[in-house]
Every structure is written in C-alpha cells, then in structure tokens.
C-alpha cells in the first residue's frame, strides 16, 4: 500500500492549520475524501442530475443507473445482494429504522434487548426510545479490564426473553473489536436477531455479511471516504421482508389509496422520498477506491500504525491509554488521557501544531463513566496516516506536558 501516493489523492492534506501542515487524526469521527469521490459527486450534478426511478427520459435513466449501480457496488463490497442494501442517512438512521421497524410492533413487556456499556449513543438511545414505547427491557454487557466486551455471563443472560442483540463491531472509543461470533451464536440460539453497528468496522477491515452470519449491519459513508448524508442498512432478505417500513412517502410504495397503501419490494420499501442520489453515487466511488486498495491492506496498514502508536505513546510519562494493547483485537482509534490535562486543552495544544484529534465523550457517555474518564483525547488513523503523524502526536503530547508543568 503506497501511502505517499494515496495522500496525493486527498486535497485537504495539503492544507495548513496555524501555519503547519494538517495532520488529520480524527477519521473515526469522519474520514477525509479523495479527489475521486469529490469529482464523482460534482460530475453527477454537472452531467446526470435527475430524480431516480420515475422518469422515462435519458437523464432520469442515467441517474437511476448511477444510483442503482452504487447500490450494487456497496453490496459487492460487503458480499451481499443488492436488494438487501438500503440507503439511509447514516448509521444512526439505520439503527433507528431497525428499532422502530422491527421493534415497535414485535416487542412487549418482559422482552429483552441486549446491548453493551461500550456502545455509541446511536446504538443506545434508539433502543431506549423503543423500550419506552413497548415496555421491553434493556440489558447491557460490561467490559473487562482489557476494555473488551465481557461475555463471561452470556449463558445466564441469554434466554427466550432476549429478542434483539445489538453491539458495535469496533468501538469508536477503545478500538476494541466486538465479540460478534459469540454473541451471534448466543442470539440465534434463543431466536433473537443480531445487529452489528458497523460504523467503525466496515471502513477499516474486510466485511463479509455471509461469513458474519448476523441479521443486520449499519454503517456510514462519511467514515469510509464517502460523502456525508448517506449510510447503509444491510439486512438478510427474510429479515428485511419481515420488517415494517418506518417512514412512508414516495418511492417506497407499490400502490397508494386514501386510507391505505402497499409497499414496494425490498430495498425500496425502506427508502421513502427522494433518496440521497448524488451521495450514493459518491459512496460508490469511495467503495471503488477502497476496493482498489484492498480492505485487507487497509486493515494491515492500520494494525501497523496502531502498533507503532501504542508503542511510541507508552514512552510519554503520565499517559493512560483506554483500549486493548493487542492490535489483533482492535482498530485504530486510540483514546488517551495525559496527567490532569483536560482532553479539550490537549486538543487545543495539538491543534496549534496542525494536529487534529477529537476530545470529549465520543458519543459514548456510559462507557466514559465505566472507564471513569470524563473525557478523553482520541487519535484515530486511516489509509492516509503515517508513522510521522504518530511522531508529531507524541511530540505534541510532550509539549503539552511542558505547558501544563507536568
């Protein structure tokens, strides 16, 4: 994998921040975009733009072909069939769609939804809302001392009352890879559906939904080189067919009468209204870009850089790292605290040197409480990051220690 060549594709990397070249270490929040993706979107608007699915003229047909072509590329990317790929606004909307579409009519008091304390708010709050509407109960698996999900108790927890299990494939805070295989086995044993919040895993490692064996996964375009405003809900055909659409409107119907309507086949029944067309086309280009590099190579590159980062960071006095130390068990999101320096101050100090890291609760407040951290600074890596970026980070941390008199 030729990182130097890859970097040339990302126009933002030639920007300077406070007079220093940008060192972007916040890809877990959102990734940067290669020129190929940016140009694909512009080109769509400049040459093809029309509404999809409803037109008998050339442009409308080209737009539909571009939109549906993006769907089949995304499907291929995760080894799924096109009709199982639903375009949503993002991971968050996808999870909400499952919560409402699967949960609202099916769940009843006493039913259980199994989550973990390490989930992103997007995989906590929708279930709280559905629990309130249905009387179902939320159960949360804990984390162990290595920041991984503790599954020692699952035999006790999983009984027939468990209807839904939803956990993240990779934590956006600790980087820990989730115990998908074990939980899928446990979920299916009791007849529950298994959902993976794949917002962090799909962008950073190969994903094969057939091999995973789960029922639903959700991910976002903007974290995998694609445009904002679009994400993906993948579901097994029979699950999608059995699920109710949440939103009603144009495109998702077969027929509409004044009092009632029938739904289009999947995936369209879940895509009410004009979809994010240009964004889908852009996501298609992002998927092409990643496929060209090879997701195995993406994963290897990130393992290497994360190992280097964990190693170099351990040199810094007063540092605490929240996450597994074995890179085989984790992705490239590295959360840390440095002495009594607040993460927000750390971010400001690093920003002076052009280094962008996230500071805060990373939309995972329950996990922060669990880890007894109010906020952490997080550096996260992607295909355009280098060991030199890590060096700059380490140097910045040393500087922060000096400024704060540590």
């Amino acid at each position: 994998m030729d990182v130097a060549r890859i970097r040339k594709d990302f126009p933002i990397l030639s920007r300077t921040i406070n007079g220093k070249p940008l060192i972007y270490l916040d890809s877990a929040a959102t990734s940067q975009k290669p020129q190929q993706v940016i140009d694909t979107v512009s080109d769509y608007y400049e040459r093809i733009n029309a509404n999809v699915h409803r037109g008998a003229y050339t442009l409308a047909d080209e737009a539909t072909t571009a939109y549906e072509g993006a769907r089949s590329r995304v499907a291929q990317f995760i080894n799924a069939s096109s009709s199982e790929v639903v375009f949503t606004r993002g991971t968050t909307q996808a999870i909400n769609m499952i919560a409402y579409g699967w949960g609202l009519d099916r769940l009843k008091p006493g039913d259980k939804i199994v989550l973990t304390v390490a989930e992103h708010h997007s995989n906590l709050v929708p279930w709280q809302i559905i629990a309130r509407h249905t009387g179902a109960e939320l159960v949360h698996l804990g984390i162990d001392s290595d920041y991984r999900i503790d599954i020692s108790d699952i035999d006790r927890i999983f009984d027939d009352s468990v209807k839904i299990v939803s956990i993240s494939g990779m934590s956006n805070v600790t980087g820990a890879i989730g115990p998908i295989a074990e939980l899928t086995e446990a979920a299916h044993r009791v007849g529950a559906i298994m959902i993976v919040d794949a917002a962090q895993s799909v962008p950073h490692m190969p994903t094969d939904v057939q091999a995973l064996g789960v029922d639903f996964i959700a991910f976002s375009s903007h974290k995998m080189l694609g445009p904002t405003g679009i994400g993906v809900l993948w579901g097994k055909r029979e699950r999608l067919e059995a699920m109710e659409p949440v939103e009603g409107g144009g495109e998702m119907i077969l027929d509409v009468h004044l009092q009632e309507s029938t739904w289009a086949p999947i995936p369209h029944k879940f895509e009410a209204g004009t979809p994010p067309i240009a964004q889908a086309v852009g996501l298609g280009a992002a998927v092409d870009y990643l496929t060209e590099i090879g997701m195995e190579n993406v994963r290897e590159h990130e393992k290497q850089i994360t190992a280097y980062a964990l190693d170099r960071l351990s040199e810094v006095p007063d540092i605490k790292i929240f996450g597994p130390s074995d890179v085989a068990m984790r992705g490239g999101a590295v959360s840390l605290a440095l002495g009594d320096i607040h993460a927000h101050d750390l971010a400001t100090i690093l920003d002076e040197d052009g280094i962008a890291v996230r500071a805060g609760h990373h939309c995972a407040k329950p996990l922060m409480r669990e880890m007894k951290a109010i906020s952490t600074a997080r550096a996260s890596f992607y295909i355009y990051n280098t060991n030199e970026d890590v060096d700059a980070l380490v140097e910045g941390l040393h500087k922060a220690r000096v400024i704060f008199g540590l």
Binding site: H342, H344, T348, I349, G360, I374, S375, F404
Partner: protein
C-alpha cells in the same frame, strides 16, 4: 507565543486549585450550565443579600479554561452589588469578544480592570475556546435573573 498566552500560570493555578469549590448550605440560588459539545459542566451557588453578593461556591468539571474562568468569577463577584456584577460580566464578555465594545483591558496595567480574569485574555485568539470561558458566566446570568424575579 499564543499557547503560552492561553495557558498562563494563573489559569493553571485556578484550574488545579479552584477557589470556592464546594456547596453552600445557607439559603442560596443554584444554577447549572453545560457545554454538550465538549462535556464541560459548571454549577454555581450564590447568596445575594440586599442586592449584594455575599457568598458563592462552584462545582463542575471540564477543561482548564472553563474551570479557571469559573473559579475566578466566583471570587470576583463577592461583595459586589448586582449592578457591579452585571458590569463585570459585560466587561468580561467584551474582553472575550462575546459582546460588542472596545477591549477594556489596559496592557500596561495587567489586572487593573478585571483582576485575575484578565489572564483569560489569551482565549480571544482561540475562538473555539471562547464558549469554555463563557460557560460559568451563563450560569451567573441565570442566577442574576433568578435573583431579580
């Protein structure tokens, strides 16, 4: 160098040794503020007798700027009339470019106008952080509103 200006010794001192940290027991006004974007939290207890601030205490957690700003504020308002506190808040917000006005600070006489609070001047160069410095002052504004209604 502007980072040094931002993180002056007096700020780090207030961050690490916040004045008036704790809770008041006597009858007091309590207000709270949050910056959801960065997680900063701040809460203020204040006693106002005959139009004068007679006691204050602070709680909360967050970055050095928000916590130092709160510590300094809690100290600065003691003994002031409500009008004086309003003036102080306005002067502070002008210094932080939150409200319109000419920077009241005289660089030749540091501390002459706002005391320790002048150390927060450096925040002006970091627009992202202005809301950190301002957080305690929004809880103060809420407290003043409660006091006058």
């Amino acid at each position: 160098m502007s980072l040094q200006e931002l993180y002056r010794g007096v700020i780090l001192d207030h961050y690490r040794n916040p004045r008036r940290r704790g809770k008041l027991t006597a009858d007091h006004i309590h207000t709270e503020g949050k910056n959801p974007s960065c997680g900063d939290e701040f809460a203020l207890d204040v006693i106002i007798e005959n139009g004068v601030v007679t006691d204050s205490a602070i709680q909360g957690q967050g970055c050095s700027i928000s916590q130092a700003s709160g510590s300094m504020m809690a100290d600065a308002i003691i003994g002031k009339t409500l009008d004086e506190v309003q003036d102080l808040a306005h002067t502070f917000k002008v210094m932080m470019t939150i409200e319109e006005g000419e920077n009241p600070i005289d660089p030749d006489r540091p501390g002459a106008v706002l005391g320790d609070l002048e150390a927060l001047q450096g925040v002006r160069k970091f627009p992202v952080r202005i809301k950190c410095a301002d957080l305690p002052w929004t809880t103060l504004a809420d407290a003043l509103e409660q006091a006058t209604t």
